[in-house]
């Protein structure tokens, strides 16, 4: 892995985390509005972070 791919990796990590939080956080947010249970937003955000970190581990963490 060269230096330039490393720069790509940082932005990929950021992108995965952002889209994980946005998508599953958004799903959780609308679910919480729909069912009137505010904790669903938090569950959605945690789910998004978990998925994003799992993806990052799959792509960059494995040898």
């Amino acid at each position: 892995m060269t230096r330039k791919n490393e720069a790509d990796a940082y932005w990929s990590i950021f992108g995965y985390l952002a889209s994980g939080l946005l998508f599953w956080g958004g799903v959780g947010y609308f679910a919480s509005r729909f069912f009137d249970k505010p904790y669903l937003t938090l569950i959605g955000l945690l789910l998004g972070v978990t998925g994003a970190i799992y993806l990052i581990w799959l792509r960059f963490g494995r040898q």
Binding site: K4, A7, S12
Partner: protein, 260 residues
Amino acid sequence: MINLHFSGEGFVPPSTNDFNLPPIFENIPWLTKPVLLVFLSVIVVSVFFVLSARKAAVVPSKLQFAGEGIYAFVRNDLARDVIGHDFMRFVPYLFTLFTFVLTNNLFGIVPFLQFPAMSHVGFPYVLALFSFFIFHYVGIRKQGLGKYLKDIAFMPGVPKAVYILLTPIEVATFFLVRPLTLSLRLFANMFAGHLLLLVFIMGGDYMVHDSHMIMKIFAPFSFTFGIVLTFFEFMVQCLQAYIFTLLTALYIAGALADEH
């Protein structure tokens, strides 16, 4: 949300309103300073490279040396090192992108122009949209639509049930977050940089003219810091043009690769 209210008087800090410049002519609403600067940048880039390439000689003149240096930088350091095999197809686009963004950014610190057009978010959006279509088109042409989308959406080596969690994240990354971060990074850097310069120059100006005797002593510090930050801005502007082009090249390389 908890709102804070301060009733300040005196110095009015620069705000986003300072970026909404009025039209130059009353009856043409779209012709504002940023639009004019974008046109000017196209002329500047064209004239510079036509002049530098017109009388090409074995022993290069200073102008030819500068033009060839920039071209060689984009071709060798960005296109060849990142995309590798079959990179010449993308050099014209990458070169245009780099010089256009760089010129527009540098307008932010050129005296009398002093406005980076990229601090209006519409321009980076369009540039990112071009890059977005190009790298997806290249990937689809190379691998076929089905295989390309499958490579994006399904990370290999994962149990089936987990795809429900992961596929939306990957699709959102490739189709939403990538173009958005590409454009917003450029926009935010130019916007914040211009605002920073405005704060120090306008603050120094206010201190000289309207403040009490003691505050006038600090005005030179404000101006000095403004000048230091101008050099810092020069660095940031070059770096952002480089990063925009580098990431476009990396996305093209990723779309061309068999697996990501």
